[in-house]
Amino acid sequence: MPTEGAATREPTPHVAAEDAREYALHGLAMACAAGGMAHQVRNPLNAMALQLALLSDKIGTHREVLDACAGNLARLQDQIGRVDEVVRRFVEAAEPAGGSGLDAGRLAEDAAALFGPEARRRHGAIEVRVEAPGLRARGDGARAGRLWMGLVWRALEEAGEGGEVRLSAAPDGAEVVLSLEHPRASPPRSPAWMAEAAAAAARALGGRLEEKVAGGVARVALRLPAEAR
């Protein structure tokens, strides 16, 4: 729970508690739509990748042409990979995979990549630091993924115009800690029910949510039990 800013909080205009169910419904729909989007994007991407392979194969018989085009072909291949990675990140964020456990570092990096452009549009930034790659937490991966993306979105909202958000994933004893650090106005821009909902979700995952505010900077830590190595 917040330790600073006891003043009455005003709900952000677009997510009032009474609207939360409507947003939840919309979120479920968007998760499903993301799957459809992935299908629609990856099919043309697939055709492009295959056409590119064909092109490489065809010009491969002409050594000079191949040498001249090799860089272009490789960059096109990279671009296909880049679009595919964006799609993967978005789909996994919109509808995190179920099953047991999650890769905390990948979750942090995915969030930074997905919210980065929006942060820059707001003249701010999102930085990410992963201390131990392959760091895995126990519990419902889908629920943890939803909670984390919600927390990052809230951090971005609270950071406001020009605000910087720092994300990190690190081990801490028997726990995995996904952390956020960002400017927080007083009173905060996000409504109190969000913090309560996040804390309840963290408890349901067998972990806890710590929120501290000092000097206008909020430090939020989602502590989840680590997977046994």
Binding site: R42, L50, D84, G99
Partner: protein, 472 residues
Amino acid sequence: MRYRLLIVDDEADGRDALAELAQRWGYEVLTAGDGTEALRRAIEWHPDVLLTDLVMPNMDGLWLLRALRAELPDVPVLLLTGRGTVQTAVQAIKEGAYDFIEKPLDPSRLRMVLERALEKKETMREVQLLRRSLAAMAPGTDLIGQGPTMHEVVELVKKVAASNASVVVTGESGTGKEVVARAIHGLSPRKDKPFVALNCSAIPATLIESELFGYERGAFTGAEQRRLGNFEMAHGGTLFLDEIGELPLEMQGKFLRVLEERRLRRLGGKGEVEVDVRVLCATNRDLREETRAGRFREDLYFRLHVFTIRLPPLRDRKEDIPLLVQHFIGKFAGETGKHVHGATPAAMEVLQAYGWPGNIRELRNTVERAMILVDGDMIGEEHLPPDMRPRGGGAGEAPLRLSEGLRLKEVEKQYILSSLRRNRGNKARTADQLGISEKTLYNKLHRYAARARAQAGDGGPDDLEAGEDAEG
């Protein structure tokens, strides 16, 4: 050889690009836009590997996979998807998919996966062939055959092997008399001792005594050192005398004495040597008739005929021809390094329709010849000697072999598919030969695909039995 790849995807752009790429890799490619079309093509065309999208209209990739497991269980299926989840991948593998690959495809990885799928298929096929050969082979012997006549032979071989009794194996030339003799030896308590074979017709009458009993140094001009005869070399084991009917009459008495007394005297020798030899003989003559004609000693005849095993000519055990062909293909594939997997149905029909006057030996030589000529993975009619092929109608006129107890509809299906294969997928020609319209043929092929789909659990909209007689 070119492997056959069936690509199934409702996305034409990706499908066509993949088809072109796979062709450049050396595959023979067919495409289909949905599962229903794919199943029909798979049944007609028998691809070596199938690559299918997961999400498609009508019948999706998983349904297709299930239908194929029922209809073409040995075809590896690779599933493609634009949105892979661990759960879907696990389900696909559980359903029998070879692999699960996400779009956009990495062509080099896809190529490797295809090659591995084909390698696995080849390995599975080889294992199946080996198992089939082993199952067809009497344990501990090289006797191949599953038909009733060979079954009787194998049972008799097993029974006589344990004893020390003489056995005469009769049968036409090339039926495998020596193989039977080796089987008896291999199953007998003497199996770790020598097996010595001598063809009496191949040895001049003047030399046969020294071949059988050996000689001492100086026994005759040129006998510079002692030489053991076949009897002594087989001591403790088995002596197999092929073409025993060719043994000169004067030698028959000496031979009988050795059998009775278990002692022999080498040519030019002073003392006798004890021998413990089991004698097996073979002949393609009627020894009883030879005895009546005075060309074979009656006492030797009775001494040898404790047991008689009659080997049937190959024309009387045609059910064993596919097994024998497969056995020889395996043998010569090892020797030639060629990856030949079998004979086409048309070639097998020719082989089974032929009379085989030279019996298994002729079949062996025919397969060896075909293995030299073949470039692909299957022996075809064109690799068989021209005089073996029936004149005029070709192999197509050979009868279709069907198992007993089939339902009439299944007989029809097998006959139609066999005709289609013989005509290399040409539906117009097949329909013409079958005396039905092309539309009826299409309807029937469509129904086979629908049935396979229903067996895979689709349920399907088709009432499979309804409209059976309403074909065009």
